[in-house]
């Protein structure tokens, strides 16, 4: 294959080279793809290809961070995006590597399985002529006659060996089939893992939803903040359970004073009532991080938490135009949370409040109002106000930010943008008779992730089988022992034993010596 054209043409009497037809090339490509060397290169390539996914933010994991990164790198960002650096594990080049590896693996493992089955069923090979040339060799004289010596050896080999005696005086024995069985099991189980992941991807679904304390959620696609169903999932068929968050307890570190630990989360507990299907009995359940709730057809995980403000807004007519828990999203470890209160029903103009909810509020000189501790010790809101059209063109944007394109900022009496500082229980009058806002109370919310993966057990069991196979393939030794017994003129017999092993086996000679010692102490 590597012969250069010159080498062929300069030969005086050209040898007819075997030409490869299309089938020949296919066979050549297949042989190369399924060779160990290719597998090795693909493995190393896979390792390199997985790298970028840990360096650049990934859209599937954190879309916001990815968007921020691209915005911050206007030249490189779009180029990297084109190359798939933000979706590494879904790119064609990454898929190509692992699919080739999969094909290479199958092409290697399936024929090997056939050969292995033949070995397991077949007889051990014949005893070689020159036993002393094997990797380990030992020769002993024993008092027993040849038949008895063979029987002794068979007993000494024990049950681990499969023994085959020919002609009454030669013996071939094999052990360690589990090594190759394990090896094959490992590789086949890897396929099981990949199949499990694929089934989970196609038939599984996941959704995230924020539920403030006191609110309920019923499991239909429309109620999720985000839902990503697999391609073959009918979102109209989600399991019909519902839940209510009654209470949420959060504990933060306030004893250890070190910068690194102070304010770190210690415990989150959500108290829920779940209903398996409409009409079924309510069940009180406790949801914690690391302790998901298993429902029929889905699992509920506690992945986040934060604060919501119970707010009442009255408009210029004095009518209550907004009342309810408004979710704010935490922006830092101390839960400085941002959000927006949108009041489309206000007269004469729609109102939009924006700003921060601070669970332990402090006004600093440099940073303005911030939260200094994640627990709600001194809650306050710092808000600004816009008026105008909240959803221009009918497009509803993010519920956490205002689209101020068609809105104007509301100023205070001094002509500066209005700043509202409001604590629970307080009511603030809006300028020029626009109405008022009341901060009733702070409640926590639970960030729930609800998932269904129909193939997770397949993946788990496949990976455990892979581990078992790996252990067998690495730890079991595949050995062959051959023996020839010849009668001695003076009575008794000479037993010659030789042994072979697959791969390194530094203990082989010792093993053989022990075996020999057992028949000729």
């Amino acid at each position: 294959m590597t012969q250069t054209p010159e080498a062929i043409t300069t030969k005086p009497d050209p040898v007819t080279q075997p030409t490869l037809g299309p089938l020949g090339w296919v066979r050549w490509a297949w042989r190369n793809l399924t060779s160990m060397r290719t597998a090795l290169q693909l493995l190393l390539l896979l390792a390199v290809a997985a790298l970028p996914g840990s360096i650049w933010p990934q859209r599937s994991i954190n879309a916001t961070r990815t968007a921020d990164y691209i915005a911050a790198h206007p030249t490189m960002g779009p180029v990297l995006d084109k190359l798939g650096a933000f979706e590494v594990y879904a790119t064609p080049w990454f898929s190509a590597i692992y699919l080739l590896l999969l094909v290479s693996l199958l092409g290697c493992v399936l024929p090997r399985t056939r050969i292995h089955l033949r070995h397991v069923r077949g007889r051990p090979p014949r005893v070689p002529a020159h036993l002393s040339r094997l990797a380990a060799y030992s020769s002993r004289e024993v008092d027993a006659d040849p038949a008895a010596a063979v029987a002794d050896l068979r007993a000494a080999l024990g049950r681990r060996y499969r023994v085959d005696v020919r002609d009454g005086h030669t013996l071939a024995a094999e052990t360690g089939f589990a090594k190759e069985s394990g090896n094959l099991l490992f590789h086949l189980a890897l396929i099981g893992i990949i199949v499990g992941v694929a089934i989970g991807h196609v038939f599984g679904w996941k959704g995230d939803v924020i539920v403030p304390v006191g609110s309920s959620f019923s499991n239909t696609a429309i109620n999720y903040d985000t839902i990503s169903p697999g391609p073959r999932v009918d979102t109209a068929e989600l399991p019909p359970f519902s839940l209510t968050v009654d209470r949420f307890d959060a504990v933060f570190e306030d004893r250890v004073r070190g910068d690194a630990q102070f304010g770190q989360p210690r415990d989150f507990t959500a108290y829920l009532r779940t209903v398996a299907e409409p009409g079924a009995a309510e069940k009180a359940q406790v949801l914690k991080v690391n302790h998901p709730i298993e429902m029929d057809g889905a699992t509920i995980f506690l992945l986040g938490n934060g604060y919501a403000a119970n707010v009442t807004v009255k408009d210029s007519r004095g009518e209550v135009v907004y009342k309810g828990a408004t979710v704010f999203l935490p922006r830092d470890n101390n839960y400085t949370s941002s959000g927006a209160i949108k009041v489309p029903g206000a007269q004469p103009q729609e109102l939009g409040f924006f700003g921060n909810l601070l669970p332990t509020a402090v006004i600093t000189k440099d940073q303005g109002p911030i939260s200094v501790f994640p627990d709600a010790r001194e809650p306050a809101m710092a808000l600004g106000l816009y008026e105008g059209e909240l959803n221009p063109g009918g497009a509803s944007g993010s519920v956490y930010t205002l689209n101020t394109k068609e809105m104007t900022v509301v100023d205070d009496a001094n002509g500066k943008p209005l700043r509202i500082w409001i604590t629970p229980g307080e009511t603030v009058q809006l300028p020029d008779g626009r109405g008022s806002i009341t901060f009733e109370s702070v409640v926590r919310w639970a960030g729930l992730s609800i998932r269904h993966d129909p193939a997770k057990d397949l993946t788990l069991w496949s990976s455990l089988l892979a581990l078992a196979g790996l252990l067998a393939s690495l730890l079991v030794r595949r050995r062959r022992v051959f023996a020839r017994v010849t009668p001695l003129a003076a009575g008794g017999s000479r037993v010659e034993i030789g042994a072979l092993s697959k791969g390194d086996d530094p203990g082989l000679q010792e093993h053989l010596d022990r075996l020999a010692a057992r028949i000729a102490p």
Binding site: M36, R37, A39, L40, L43, L44, L46, A47, A50, L51, G53, S54, I55, P57, I61, N62, R65, V88, V197, K206, E253, V256, G258, A260, Q261, Q264, P265, R266, D267, F268, K288, V289, N290, H291, P292, T299, F301, L303, S449, R451, D453, K456, T459, L460, S463, L464, A466, L467, L470, L471, L474, L475, G503, D504, P506, G507, L508, Q509, E510, D513
Partner: protein, 331 residues
């Protein structure tokens, strides 16, 4: 005793371990340099003593230095051995001190001390040291001492400086029985991989000296009197990798099981997960390379060392600078 007091004692114990281990390292350096400097004529004495069954006996081939103390070894070499004795004792003492530090830390925080990088590295150091100390009981592996004490000193140094974290309770996602399972096995795997990488490094050095007649007169070349032949080193290195690889596989699986409980999905392409996977793939490539005819043992060993380089990156750069769910609190 209060949490702070116990934390202080734990730290003092770790500092003491660093001091003692530095002494051990100096002892091992002295041992190597004296052995290398031993007069050539003396060195001939031990060489020709053939060992009848070095092929068998598993790790028995480790001891290149023939015979025990009763051999008429050269004066220079026995002088060298005098430095190794105290070095071994100091290593034992350091191991004990690191063990004390871990226990005190655990008492301080009322939980298994496996919750952050500081605790992880202290425990991994303990595994490496204990593994080496137990090995010295069975074989003469004094020549390996320098390869063990140096990386462990670097690990302990980092654990007490950049990676130091105040003793505290865990964050909610770490409060799980899987912490002990996943992290303990990860620590064992890391410890064994460290020993394996050091053995591989020694193999490459000795192998070069063996193949290059010029180099055999250099420092490394002269060390061949006390270090086993390259082929043995390679085989032991392989054996250690074979031990560590399933442990790493289990770390990956246990991590995935835990991830499903704590983060709702068994695989999230979190940077740490990605690197654990990369490391797994590289070591898998090493095992394949070693079983492939046509790939030299040297090349295979380079792959294994690349895997170890990734382990170092995984615990330093990935933990500290890549944003992900494995970010250790407090660093």
């Amino acid at each position: 005793m209060t949490r702070e007091t116990l934390e202080q004692y734990s730290l003092i114990s770790l500092y003491s371990a660093i001091v003692v281990l530095t002494l051990a390292m100096l002892g091992f350096v002295l041992y190597l340099s004296r052995s290398a400097a031993a007069r050539a004529a003396d060195a001939v004495v031990p060489e020709p003593v053939a060992q009848p069954v070095t092929v068998g006996g598993g790790g028995g081939a480790l001891t290149a230095e023939p015979g025990g103390t009763d051999m008429p070894a050269s004066r220079d070499l026995s002088r060298a051995r005098k430095a190794a004795g105290p070095a071994r004792m100091f290593t034992w003492l350091a191991t004990f001190l690191v063990g004390c530090s871990i226990v005190l830390r655990g008492m301080s925080v009322h939980r298994p001390p496996l919750g952050n990088l500081h605790e992880f590295v202290a425990a991994a150091s303990f595994v490496v040291l204990l593994g080496y100390c137990l090995w010295t009981l069975k074989r003469n592996v004094d020549w390996l001492g320098i390869f063990v004490t140096t990386p462990v000193l670097l690990m302990l140094g980092s654990a007490t400086t950049f990676w130091y974290t105040e003793a505290a309770e865990l964050m909610p996602s770490l409060k799980s029985g899987w912490l002990v399972i996943h992290v303990t096995v990860a620590i064992l795997a890391t410890g064994v991989f460290t020993l394996a990488a050091m053995m591989s490094l020694a193999y490459l050095l000795i192998d070069r000296a063996e193949r290059n007649p010029d180099a055999s007169q250099g420092f490394v070349g002269r060390l061949r009197r006390i270090v086993p032949p390259a082929s043995d080193l390679e085989r032991i290195g392989y054996g250690l990798h074979v031990l560590a690889f399933p442990l790493w596989t289990f770390t990956l699986i246990a991590g995935a099981i835990w991830a499903r409980q704590a983060w709702a999905s068994y695989w999230n392409w979190d940077p740490k997960e990605v690197w654990t996977f990369i490391i797994w793939v590289i070591y898998a490539a090493y095992l394949h390379a070693r079983a492939t005819t046509g790939v030299t043992r040297q090349k295979a060993t380079y792959i294994a060392l690349a895997g170890f380089a990734c382990i170092i990156i995984n615990y330093s750069i990935v933990n500290m600078y890549f944003v992900g769910q494995h970010s250790y609190s407090g660093v």
